[in-house]
């Protein structure tokens, strides 16, 4: 499986995720949240940064169900879902992830028929990666 190739801007997200915490980058001056993380604020150009805790609740904004050909370890789990989740606390922050039956479950563990745009979801963590379950 591919693990996140982190960079300087994104590293704090993964450090918090490893502790089971979801935080998003926000401007340390004007307070505007932003994703993906980047060096400065596109609204006020400030380089001040804070990592703001969020509830981990959200709604499915869209989803796909990939089928092979895929990379081998993904093909083994196909068809699986990939979702984009819009965060309840910050609606313009949308995170790509997988909707699963529980923490650590396989990518294809949830029947795709159960997924709907708008469905309420909650983040869970497994091995430092965020996953999503139906709320």
């Amino acid at each position: 499986m591919l693990t996140p190739v982190t960079d300087t801007d994104g590293a704090p997200f993964w450090e918090y995720a490893a502790r089971g915490e979801m935080r998003v980058q926000a401007c340390g001056d004007c307070g505007e949240p932003r994703f993906p993380p980047r060096p400065c604020c596109p609204h006020c150009q400030s380089f001040a940064v804070e990592w703001r805790p969020v509830s981990g609740r959200g709604r499915v904004w869209s989803y796909v169900v990939p089928h092979p050909p895929l990379l081998p370890e993904y093909a083994e789990q196909a068809p699986y879902n990939v979702v984009v989740v819009e965060l309840e606390d910050a609606p313009r922050i949308r995170l790509v992830g997988n909707l699963v039956t529980g923490p650590g479950a396989a990518l294809g563990s949830l029947d795709p028929e159960r997924i709907r745009i708008g469905a309420r979801v909650q983040v869970v963590f497994a091995d430092g990666l965020p996953q999503w379950v139906l709320a």
Binding site: P4, S62, Y63, P66, V82
Partner: protein, 384 residues
């Protein structure tokens, strides 16, 4: 408008292409040379007169190799455009700007690619773009088809677009390919049943929503309008040209701004029409970038052929077919002629305005050509 302006200052006077196939024996460099020499021969211009070049950053045959092989003269302008298929029309736009401003006099744009027999870029896990590598690929959003399927699902949800609308796009392209002996799908008709029962690639996109995987190369030649009058072929003028990278846009995975369903087409279109003497209503035929069927309804909205959310419905009633409201991709497009990062759409636009297309729109005098939607893009308005 300040400056010399691009409007009708340059023209495409030569086009060339190789055979298109799933697998060609020759390498990309050889195919590039063949397409470029064919385009120059079509124009009646000697290779030694070429002084300007433009291609894609993903093009593997560089200027030095090409110039040495085909015998170009001294080059005074060469440029490359990024973002894969988003750069197709920009190659012509850069040459038009260079020629109009005196940086070059004879320009060649080209693309040579063995995407049919060569590797699929997404299978290379060591060379990944930084944002997908961190935020999307680990979750199994691996391929361009997955990334665009995500926007497609949201588009269908918000506006009621259907798989039948996407089929209309696939069918129009296939029907035109069935008229074009050079198209990979020349002898392969498509039916609604084939489409609706096809295997999924990434739901909601099936096999026929995805472009071909093709080996092939194309090129075109651009000169100033005075020189164009002396060339062998009817000049096809570059009437307007634009690139587009909207504020806060993110190529392919554009999930992170206020309105992900308005993409680069909207930005390019505003500039394109601002500098044009005609409007979307006056476009006789369009070549719309079709790596995936869903990009066509989005582009129809972006370039102003219909309103927000109306792109799906626009495809109904044979609108995209010959005789319809807006015939598109009349050589078969990336879906059914060849997928060479959209360069075949440029050459097909030229054929239409010369009156030599295999699916000729009677009297076509204006053509829109677009590059990839969903990535930083570019577009051209061509006219006779």
């Amino acid at each position: 408008m300040a400056g010399i302006g691009l409007k009708d200052a340059t023209a495409v006077v030569g086009i060339g292409q190789t055979t298109f196939a799933k697998r060609l024996a020759e390498d990309e460099k050889t195919l590039a040379c063949r397409a470029v020499l064919a385009a120059l021969d079509d124009a009646g211009i000697a290779p030694g007169e070429v002084d300007g070049l433009a291609s894609y950053t993903m093009e593997e045959t560089d200027e030095v190799e090409l110039a040495k092989a085909v015998g170009f003269g001294d080059l005074t302008f060469f440029s490359k455009v990024g973002y894969g298929g988003g750069g197709s029309c920009a190659t012509v736009a850069h040459l038009a700007a260079a020629i109009a401003s005196g940086q070059a006099s004879v320009g060649v744009a080209w693309r040579s690619r063995k995407r049919g027999s060569g590797p699929r870029p997404w299978t290379n896990t060591t060379v990944q773009l930084p944002t997908p590598a961190q935020w999307t690929r680990p979750f199994g959003l691996l391929r361009p088809a997955d990334e665009i399927a995500m926007l497609t699902r949201r588009y269908m949800h918000e506006y009621g677009a259907t798989r039948d609308h996407l089929f209309n796009v696939a069918l129009a392209c296939r029907n035109r390919a069935n008229q074009n002996p050079a198209a990979v799908m020349y002898e392969r008709p498509l039916t609604r049943e084939m489409y609706m029962t096809a295997r999924w690639i990434s739901e909601p996109l099936c096999l026929f929503d995805n472009c071909l995987e093709t080996d092939g190369a194309l090129a075109c030649v651009i000169v100033g309008k005075e020189r164009a009058r002396d060339c062998r072929r009817t000049p096809v003028y570059v009437h307007s040209a634009a690139q587009g990278l909207p504020a806060q846009h993110h190529g392919m995975v554009n999930y992170w701004n206020d309105d992900p369903l308005t993409g680069p087409a909207w930005t390019a279109a505003r500039h394109l029409w601002k500098h044009a003497d005609f409007t979307p209503d006056d476009v006789d035929v369009a070549q719309i970038y079709d790596a995936f069927t869903a990009l066509v309804p989005l582009s129809l909205e972006g370039y102003g052929f219909c309103g927000r959310g109306e792109g799906g419905a626009f495809t109904e009633g044979g609108a995209l077919e010959i005789g319809g409201r807006l015939p598109v991709n009349t050589g078969g497009g990336g879906l059914s002629e060849a997928y060479v990062h959209g360069f075949n759409l440029i050459n097909e636009g030229v054929k239409q305005l010369r009156g030599t297309s295999t699916a000729q729109v009677p009297g076509a005098a204006t053509c829109l050509v677009t590059a990839g939607e969903g990535v930083p893009t570019s577009a051209l308005l061509l006219r006779t």
